[in-house]
Every structure is written in structure tokens, then in C-alpha cells.
Amino acid sequence: MTPDLPILIVLGAVSIASALGLLLSRNAIYAALFLVLNFGVGAVIYLVLNAPFIAVVQVSVYAGAIMVLFLFVIMLLGAERLSPGENPPGISFQRPLAIALGGVLLGLALYALFVRQPPTTATALADSSPTAIGLSLFGPYLFPFEVVSILLLVAMVGAVVLTRNR
């Protein structure tokens, strides 16, 4: 029992509730806002886990940029109303099958987590300041960093080409 655990339990409850809201909501805008809440709670969990840089990047990139893009596209297309009877009659077995397979997946993950116990270590705090992350990014991880910059450029050009009006 660590002192962080009560905080994490509260955060985890909010996180799971917002994920279920995303899964069950009938309006795409509400689903996107539930996902923003989920990402915000995730940022607080990162702070508890001694990862302040990742927490700030989570808020600015995920909850900021990516979700604004989602909301923009939903409102641009006017696709916020999702039809109530989503499943066509031909594949009505799909829903129970998906729930059963999801249960199997969760069971496997729990088995991997709790049956194969890793050894416990002393929990000293790593130096995870933005300075240390920057030194690591531009030191041993310089090549992946440059590859990511090219990937982002290609994605930008691809998005422009795909949505161009001909």
C-alpha cells in the first residue's frame, strides 16, 4: 500500500467512467468531450507517476491539438447524431460476440499481470525533468527523433493531398 494509491483509485474511477461514456454515448460531440476528460485524467496520473513532461505533452497534444481536430471534423461533417439502431439486422450476433471477446482479452491481460509477478524493486525517483528528457531525446534517441519529424511532414502533406478539391 503506497501513499499514491488512494489518489490513483479516484483517478482510475473517473478514467474508466469517461471511457464508458465514450463507448455508450449517442452523440459524437459528447463522446469527444468524454475522451478529453479521459486524457485530462491521464495527465494527472502521469503527474502522480513522476512524469511531468509527459503530462504537459498529453494536455497540449492529445487533449488540445488532437481533440480539437476531432471536434472540428465532427462539426464540419455535421455527423454528431449517431443512428440509434446502429447494427443492421444481418450481423446482430456481433454485439454479444464482441462483448465476449472483450472479456477474454481483459482476462488474458489480468492473467499476465497477476499470475506472473515481477520482482519488486526500490522505488527511487528517476530524474524525469524536461532537461533529462531533452538530453535523452537529442542524445541516444536522436535518430528516432529525426525520423518522427519526417513522419510528421509526410502526414501533413498526405492530409493536404487527400482533402484537396479537384
Binding site: M1, I16, L20, L23, V48, A79, P118, L162
Partner: protein, 100 residues
């Protein structure tokens, strides 16, 4: 139960909810958001184990995952907008043009 185990547990539950979203929802936008939820769950596990083993590499990997997710969202939403222009729908069941 220590905090690492709890966050790993939370991560697997969130990942399963994301899988259920991909399997159950029929709107391409909702499926895409569920994929983002799964990526986020994987990031949580990365940070939890980086915390446990006192290593920075897990956090660096989360940074790269976020960059790739941003690229993926840009291209994916462009595809959805293009499909909506021709099909007037974001329902994935309407995209059956390749079905024999």
C-alpha cells in the same frame, strides 16, 4: 497492491473498453476515437513501468507514440472527410464497395 500494479490494471481495462468501442460502434469517427483510447492505455502502462524500474526510456517512448498518434489522426481524419464527400456517411457498414 502497489501503484504500478493498479495503473497497469487500469491500463488493461481502458484498452479493453477501446477494443469494445472498435468492435461495437459503427461510426468511423467513434472507431477512431476508440483507437486513440487504446493508444492512451498503452502509454499509461509505459509510464507506470518507467516509474517502477526508474528508467526514462519508457517516457521517451510515450513521446514517440504521441507524435505517431498525431500523424495518424491527421491522415485518418483526412480520409474520413474524403469518404464523407463521396458517400455522405461515416457509417463503416456503408463502405462495402469492395464486397463481392
Amino acid at each position: 497492491m502497489d501503484s504500478t500494479t493498479f495503473v497497469a490494471l487500469l491500463s488493461s481495462v481502458l484498452f479493453t473498453i477501446g477494443v469494445l468501442g472498435v468492435l461495437l460502434r459503427r461510426s468511423a469517427l467513434l472507431i477512431f476515437m476508440s483507437v486513440e483510447l487504446m493508444l492512451n492505455a498503452a502509454n499509461l502502462a509505459f509510464v507506470a513501468f518507467a516509474h517502477r524500474w526508474v528508467q526514462l526510456d519508457g517516457q521517451i517512448f510515450v513521446f514517440f507514440v504521441m507524435a505517431v498518434a498525431a500523424a495518424e489522426v491527421a491522415v485518418g481524419l483526412a480520409l474520413i472527410v474524403t469518404i464523407f464527400r463521396t458517400k455522405r456517411s461515416t457509417n463503416v457498414d456503408d463502405l462495402a464497395a469492395l464486397k463481392g
